[in-house]
Subunit: 251 residues, 2 copies
């Protein structure tokens, strides 16, 4: 699906590829006005992390994958940036997990919803991926949220027991936690409200997380569900990594 022509050996290839995907998505009307700024914030935190999957992020990813695989009704919630940056990868993961995805955007307009749905349907067709895409016709509300932001589907987000919300805002994350769900957050800022609200928080870049999950989805990760998991400890490890970088011990 990518018509990106840069040299894959370029040291900034992945970063340039993601920017290209956002620019293409913007032209198609898939993004909110704040999408580029949000991506830039993520880039800054990824720079601090070292643009790599930290051991603490790997542990959280394994735990998240285990929770998704053992769930009764797992769902992947997608916003504009997620569809733009990793539409194919989230569909591939959903197919492996045999779960639906649901488009759930903060600034909802019919035009944006149509653009996002069309983009995902085109990927499904081109890549022969069999996944149910929910969100076009909301028939339920997330308690505790106001206006169109509360909209969701009963068969997707409302009835889910485990939900992954990459790049989600703090309010919606909190509302989902308050519904008693296991909420998996992907957020490069370990201090963000979403990161602190999540049941399982993966402090890592979206496309790296999805690549890891797809790679590890066949493994017998369910076993790790019986082990203790401390999300605050995971966040503290990410913070400590960045603190070492800033204290100059790593430069």
């Amino acid at each position: 699906m990518d018509d990106f022509a840069a040299d894959p050996s370029h040291p900034r290839y992945q970063s340039l590829l993601l920017r290209h995907r956002l620019e293409e998505a913007e032209k198609k009307g898939m993004l909110a006005g704040s999408a580029m700024i949000a991506h830039g914030r993520g880039e800054a935190f990824d720079y601090l992390i070292g643009e790599t999957t930290l051991p603490s992020a790997k542990a959280a990813t394994v735990r998240a994958l285990s929770a998704l695989k053992s769930a009764q009704h797992p769902v992947l919630s997608l916003n504009g940036n997620v569809v733009a940056l990793a539409g194919k990868e989230v569909l591939l993961l959903a197919e492996k997990l045999d779960c639906p995805v649901e488009i759930n955007i903060f600034y909802r307009t019919p035009e944006r919803m149509n653009a996002l749905l069309h983009h995902l349907e085109a990927i499904k067709l081109a890549e022969h991926i069999d996944v149910e895409i929910l969100g076009a016709e909301p028939n339920a509300k997330i308690p505790g949220l106001k206006g169109p932001r509360a909209n969701c589907t009963k068969e997707g987000i409302l009835d889910s027991d485990v939900i992954m919300v990459p790049l989600e805002d703090g309010d919606r994350c909190e509302a989902l936690v308050n519904m008693g769900k296991t909420v998996i957050v992907i957020d490069l800022n370990p201090l963000s409200r979403s990161a602190r609200m999540g049941t399982i928080t993966i402090v890592d870049e979206l496309t790296r997380v999805l690549a890891n999950m797809i790679q590890w989805s066949g493994d017998d990760v369910e076993l790790s569900q019986s082990e203790a998991y401390d999300n605050d400890a995971i966040l503290a490890q990410a913070l400590a990594h960045i603190a070492v970088k800033f204290s100059g011990q790593d430069n």
Copy 2:
């Protein structure tokens, strides 16, 4: 010049105002494609700093102001984001310093240059500011840079002894330092190459720096030029502040 309608008592007012200015500038063709992402990176670092002027940034700002006031040929170099975010403030500072500004953009096209010039000229007219705006007709080159990025004016950047380059890229910053100039950098990332290359690096948000400089420009700051100044120590103080935040001692 701002038609921004948000409530100034909103806790995110300044952040929303700056985003609004960028969005308006984008509509006018003033910005490069990467402008929004760069702004988002800055937002992330400002969040880490605490969205405040650190004591180390204040010390660097006073030193920078002193260097500009005692210079033979000071100049303020402006790129698209600087003009968009703080066009009025940078003109007001230049007027107080009695120095020219020079538009010097990385991705140079006639359309972008015209849009930026027009924006600044409109501010000059509306605010009755008397400042020379250079850059429309480059007649010199910055040694060590290739292509249109090397373009500058002899009477502005080339002959300057003290130059302020807010939000500048590392290559150009290095080239200016190699010319023997006193280079004042404004950069929210204390680890960036520009921050490390600068003669005087202010780790603070652009509009806060300009407001401080305008406020302090009448003070007798020249005296501080005789004192010792250690830019590495200033950067280390900014890093230490962020490291404390991440190590959890400040949360």
